[in-house]
Amino acid sequence: MLSDADLVAISLTLKLATTVTLLLLMIGTPIAWWLARTRSRWKGPVGAVVALPLVLPPTVLGFYLLLVMGPNGFIGQLTQKLGLGTLPFTFAGLVVASIFYSLPFVVQPIQNAMEAIGERPLEVAATLRASPWDRFFTVVLPQAKPGFITASILGFAHTVGEFGIILMLGGNIPGETRVVSVQIYDHVESLEYSQAHTLSAAMVAFSFLVLLGLYSHRRKSSLWGAR
């Protein structure tokens, strides 16, 4: 059955996915709001950048993050000046990488849900003396709730499923960067097929349950958060 190392990998994965999902909701919401509302000519380019991880191989993303966060990269220099060392091969590094990697899975459902609200409810709220912040919290957030649920589930599940970017950036440090997907890889490398099998089956079951929940919860609507 599951070894201690497997359990450590599972708990690390859950910790990573939870941290990343929470941070992504905080970072993704304003980006989604801006993308949903702006008439700026930057909407296209910004939207494309957000969507890049959907098409790029994780190795490409991981490679550039490794450069930027490494000792000679500008983020690396910044973190060193702040006395934080460098981010690659740390849990924090994985969090940063996962945020980039899972960004579109969080931003796009929220953006679609916000676009579906339209202008009218906000105008109505304005004529009822609601300030812009008030409107955001009392109209936009509640009406975009299905989009937030989809975004959280997809962001969490996608982070759990990461592999390539972690290998590029995090290596294979037990309890620090060795998540489930890397653990399975290690098992297979050392020909421990039965252990690999147990963990892999658990991942299949987890992913299936998440998606099942998502699709039955939102049977009447599309996965991407439009109404």
Binding site: P121, E123, V124, A125, A126, L128, R129, D134, R135, Q143
Partner: protein, 369 residues
């Protein structure tokens, strides 16, 4: 006209709003209006005449490049000032359902209660609920309400924000005629129960005849005329009076009730009329609408006709239809006007011309309250 009133009960609105696209080189809206700061002012016009744009500019939902707006003494927009919509003390009723879909009817009302400048007393709240007839449906979500119920909740919500100006953008347009008849009485109660000036956008002559005190006529973004309802309805040179629907609206006081024949006599500025008794007490102020097609003209005061009402009139203007058999004749009565829809042949046979003294025979006059 409102121009003689003091500026504190007056609405001055001057807007120039351009179209968003470059195709048009004229303005979507170009008005300079002074409207009364009390009663119901109807803004009338066909679709695309700029009615809704005017209302949105007044609410601040649309920002006219050139704009000057003073509402009962408070400047909401000028060259240097633009008060944000949520800081304007107004209520807005939108054309279609505007209730928040994620809140029950009651929570929708509470959204306004929480943000109103002063707390609303429980009694007042209950009174408004009763007046609008929505107490039994408060726990439902908007999707579980009929169109008429949704609009009643929306009107209530707009009242609970304690507006000093209520803007209504065709609140009945999305409803079928049965639902319209369901809501109109509530709007009439609104006029008598609350002392809030109302701007009421509509393209329905019927609604305006029932509700408005003052009428502004918009055409292609410009105000082509405005005045009291009696004044604007009786003009034959503006589109409101066009076609079969031409009518005048008189207001008067019930001075006599004939129990036997179920009739009531109403004293109006244009003369006294017998109308069907609708149960209004002596002294009640009611509105009467007289269709141009219900009037015939005679040279003498025949007593032996079935017409209930006969009034001496003087012909003031004649507007023959450009291509057609009919002509619209404007008649001066004591202190008011009537419109009569006649065939051009009758006009010719009776040799009707301006200044002529005639008798108007009124077949029926409808009480519209």
């Amino acid at each position: 006209m409102a121009t003689t009133e003091s500026p504190t009960t007056q609405l001055q609105a001057k807007f120039q709003l351009r179209y968003r696209d470059a195709k048009h080189d004229d303005c979507a809206l170009d008005v300079d209006l002074v409207m009364p700061g009390k009663g119901i002012t109807a803004i009338f016009g066909q679709s695309g005449s700029g009615k809704t744009s005017l209302l949105r500019c007044i609410a601040g939902l649309e920002r006219a490049e050139q704009g000057h707006l003073v509402v009962n003494g408070n400047t909401w927009q000028s060259d240097t000032v633009f008060v944000a919509p949520h800081k304007r003390p107004l209520g807005y009723v939108f054309q279609e359902s505007s209730l928040f879909s994620h809140l029950t009817a009651e929570k929708n009302l509470q959204y306004a209660l929480k943000r109103a400048p002063l707390p609303t007393a429980k009694d007042t709240y209950q009174h408004i609920l009763k007046l609008m007839g929505i107490a039994p449906i408060l726990q439902r979500y908007p999707s579980e309400l009929s169109g008429g119920e949704r609009q009643r909740v929306a009107i209530t919500r707009a009242l609970l924000i304690q507006p000093s100006l209520l803007l209504m953008d065709e609140p009945l347009a999305s409803l079928d005629s049965a639902r319209k008849q369901e809501i109109l009485p509530y709007l009439e109660k609104l006029r008598s129960a609350f002392d809030i000036p109302i701007l009421y956008v509509s393209h329905s002559v019927d609604e305006i005849a029932r509700l408005a005190d003052h009428v502004v006529l918009l055409q292609q973004g410009r105000a082509i005329t405005q005045g009291s309802i009696a004044e604007v309805f009786s003009r034959i040179d503006v589109p409101l009076a066009a076609g079969n629907g031409a009518s005048v609206v008189w207001q008067g006081e019930v001075i006599e009730r004939d129990k036997h024949w179920q009739l009531a006599r109403v004293a109006c500025a244009g003369g006294a009329l017998w109308v069907a008794d609708t149960g209004d007490a002596l002294g009640a102020r009611i509105r009467v609408r007289i269709l141009a097609s219900d009037i015939s003209l005679a040279l003498n005061a025949y007593q032996d006709t079935s017409f209930l009402n006969r009034l001496p009139v003087m012909v003031s203007e004649i507007a023959p239809e450009a291509n057609g058999a009919m002509a619209l004749v404007r008649l001066k009565t004591a202190e008011d006007y009537l419109l009569a829809n006649l065939t051009r042949r009758s006009v010719d046979q009776l040799a009707i011309k301006p200044g002529q003294q005639l008798w108007a025979q009124i077949k029926s006059a409808a009480v519209i309250r």
